[in-house]
Amino acid sequence: MTIHLKIWRQKDKNSPGKLVDYTVDDANPDMSFLELLDWLNERLMNEGREPVEFDHDCREGICGSCNLVLNGMAHGPMQGTAVCQLHMRKYKDGDTIVVEPWRAKAFPMIKDLVVDRSAFDRIMAAGGYISVNTGAPADANAIPVDKYNADQAFDYAACIGCGACVAACPNSSASLFTGAKISQLAHLPQGDPERNRRVVNMVDQMAEEGFGDCSNYAECEAVCPAEISITSIAKMRREYFNALSEIE
C-alpha cells in the first residue's frame, strides 16, 4: 500500500520546524506505524538523507516512550492503543498522515518528533511515592486492602507516563497524569499518611512546570493508551480540597 506522510522536521529547539512530505509506496498492512517510520528511515539513509528521529522503546504499548500525533490525534485513531501498537491496516491505500510531536511548553522540543518529558519525573519527585525505606516493612498481608480499592488503585496505576493526555488537551494540562498517581495512592491505606502533602506538592509542581489548567474536555481520557478515567482528576480535586482544610 502507498502511504503519504507529512512529518514534522525540526533540527533543534531554536530552529524553526516544518512539515515535510514523504511517500512510502511499499508499506505493508501488517506493519506497525513505527515500523513504517523505520522503513522510511532506511530509505532516507540509503538516499543519503537524514532519518526522522522519534522516541520508541518497548513497542508493545507499556513503556510510554512513543509519542506521535497522527492527523491531530495523540497516538493516532485507535482507542486504548499507543502508536507503537497501531498497525497500518487501520489505514487505506493512498492515505495521508500528518505526523507531529507532542506540543506543550512543558515538553520542550529536542529534535524532529522527540521532546523532553522530564517534567513528569519532577511531578513524581514532588510526591508521587510512599515514603518507605528499604528495610523491614511489616508483612505484606498485615495491610489488607479491600478488592474494590485495590482494583481502583490498579486502574489508576496503569498510567504509562507517555504524555498523550497533555498532547491532546487543548489546554496542555497534565491533570490526568498527576491525578492518576494521586488517585492510585489515595485508594491505598499505605498512601494515607502523606495524602495531604502529596496532592498539594504534586499539583503545585504541575503548575510550576508550565502545564495548563484543566477545562474538563476529557480529551485526555479519549487518547489515553491505558484508558485512565478523568474520575482521577475529580479525585485529585477532592483530595486537594480536603488537604487544604486539614494541613496547617
Binding site: 513505527l34 507499556i62 522530564s118
Partner: protein
Amino acid sequence: MTASKNGTLNSKVPEGNLQDKWDNHKNNLRLVNPANKRKFTVLVVGTGLAGASAAASLAELGYNVKAFTILDSPRRAHSIAAQGGINAAKNYPNDGDTVWRLFHDTIKGGDYRSREANVYRLAQVSNSIIDQCVAQGVPFAREYGGLLDNRSFGGAQVSRTFYARGQTGQQLLLGAYSAMMRQVHTGKIELFPRREMLDLVKVDGKARGLVARNLTTGEIERYAGDAVLLCTGGYGNVYYLSTMAKNCNATAVWRCYKRGAQFGNPSFTQIHPTCIPVSGKYQSKLTLMSESLRNDGRVWVPKKKGDNRPPNEIPEEDRDYYLERRYPSFGNLAPRDVSSRSAKYVCDEGRGVGKTGLAVYMDFADSIKRLGVDAIKAKYGNLFAMYEKITAENPYEVPMRIFPAVHFTMGGLWVDYNLSSNIPGLYVLGEANFADHGGNRLGASALMQGLADGYFVVPYTLSDYLAENLHSKKIGTDHEAFEKTEKETMERINKLLSVKGKKTVLDFHRELGELMWDNVGMSRNRKNLEMAIKKIGELRDEFWKDVNIPGENNTLNKYLEYALRVADYMELGELMARDALDREESCGGHFREEHQTEDGEAVRDDEKFSNVSSWEYKGDDKEPVKHTEDLNFEFVTPTQRSYK
C-alpha cells in the same frame, strides 16, 4: 583449542549451612558509618528493577548516587514489560511452599548450572521483596478479604506467584522508580536521563568512573565515583529480533568486559515458546504472549508437509499435537526450552504454518468447547485482544499462531557472591550478571532477582567494599584515566562516522541476527558454530568498512547510538558462539545436537561441565581465555530433567 584456566575464580561463597550463609555473611560484612556514607559517590547505570531499587536503597542509606538511563525517564526501563508475576516463598496459600522449595525449583529449573548459595539467598529474600513492594503501594492482585492473591505459574506445583494483572513488571518498576524519585527530590540521587555509558574508567585496577554520551547533545561526559553498579539488563538484542525493547543493549557490559571484567556463560539464552510470529522483513521486534496461555491452548501442526488448508479445515486425524505426543505427562506445559525446540523441529521439517512457515498453532477450540467462551474470555481476554490487535486474527475462532523468540539471557558479567565482578568496585546486578538462573530461567524469577539484588543484596555487600576503601584517594574527572578513556571513546565514534559506507546499521544487525538465530539459537552444533564464528568475523570487518551512519555526533542521533551498540554485538555474538562451541553438553537453553539421547532429549555432562565458563578479554586480535568456576553441589543432587 581454547586456552583455559580452571577453578581460578573465587566465588567468595561464605562457609556454613546453606540456610545460614547469608546471615553469617551479613554479620561479617564491614559497615560504613553514617557520617562517612555521604563521602561516597556510587554510579548506578540503568534504572530498571535492579538499578532503580539499588539507587533508591543506597541513597536512603546516605550515599550520593548518580543514576543513568538511556531513556528519557527511568520509568521506561524494560523491566516494565514483564507480564506474569514475581515469585516469593510466602506460602500464603498454605500449599506447602518453603524457601527451600523455591530454591530447589529455581536451581533445578536452571538445570544445575547456578550457584547454590546465590539461589538460596534469592529465595530467602524473596519474601522481603513482596513486603517492600506492598509498603510502596504496588497494587498486587487481592482477594475479597483484602489479602494478596497468588497463582501458579510456569508449571510450578505451588501457587507462589504474586501478580498485578498482566502488568507485574510495570507495577514493580513504578514502585522502585517512585522510591528513586523520592531520593531525587531529597537530592541524594542525581538523575541523568538520555545518557549512555560508553566505557568504564579504571584507576589502579579499580572501577572509578565512567564516560557516557549525552544522547541529546552528543557530548562525552565524565563521571567519577567510588563504585560503579551495572544494572543494564540482558543482551538478547544480539539476535536482532527478540522480545527486548529496542534500546536494550549490551554496550555497558561489553565495554566493561573489554576493560577486564569476565563474561559468564555468554551462550545461555532463553528462548520463549509463545511469541507472536514474524510477519515480514520490516518486523522490528517480537511480542510475547504470556505463558499462562499454555494452560488451555493445545499446540499442533499439520501431520503432512505443506498442508496449506486453513486450520479449521484440517481434520483431527491430520493434526499432530506434537507436545502431547512427545511429552505425555507435561504435554503443552513442557518447559520453555523443550517447547521452543520442539516448535523449531516441526518447522524445520516443513510443517510450520502461516505465510512464512515459521509458526505453530495454539488452539483454544477444545477449551472453549469445554469451558465456554466466557470462561476463556475471563482468563485471557486481554491477551486475546492484544493478539488480535497485532495480527488482525480472532483467536476465539482461528487458532493463534505462535513461534519461539529470544526473551532473556541467563549469561552476563561474572560476579561473586557479593555481586562484584572481578574488577574491584564494579558491581553487576539483575539480568546483566550471570548469577542466579543457570542454564534456564523459571517464569516469574527475573523480577525477583532484579529486586533482590538491588534492595537486599548490594546495599550490604557494597558497604563492605566501600569500608575497605574509606581512605583511598578521591579521583576527579580530570584524572588522566578519564582523559584517556574519553579520547578512546571519541575515536571510536569518529571512526564509525567516517566509514560512510553503503549498508545501514539495520542491514548489518539483521544479518547478524539471522546468523545468531540460525546457529547460536535453540539448537546448536559444532559445524554451524564454527561457521558462525567465521561469518560473524567477516560481517564485523564489513561493518567497519561499509556501514552508513547518517548525521553528526553533536546532536540527537539514534542511528549513531544504534551503530555503537551493533558494533559491540558483532563482538559479543562471536563470544556467545565460542562459549556454545566450548560447552560440549546440552543444558537448559543451551542444546548441542551432539549431546542428546536417541529420542532427542538433552544430555548434560556434569563430569566436565558442572561449572561456570567465564571469559576474559585478551585483545581484539587474540582469542579470549576461559576461566571456570566449579559449581559444587553440597546441598542438592543434580538429576536429569525429564518431562516425558
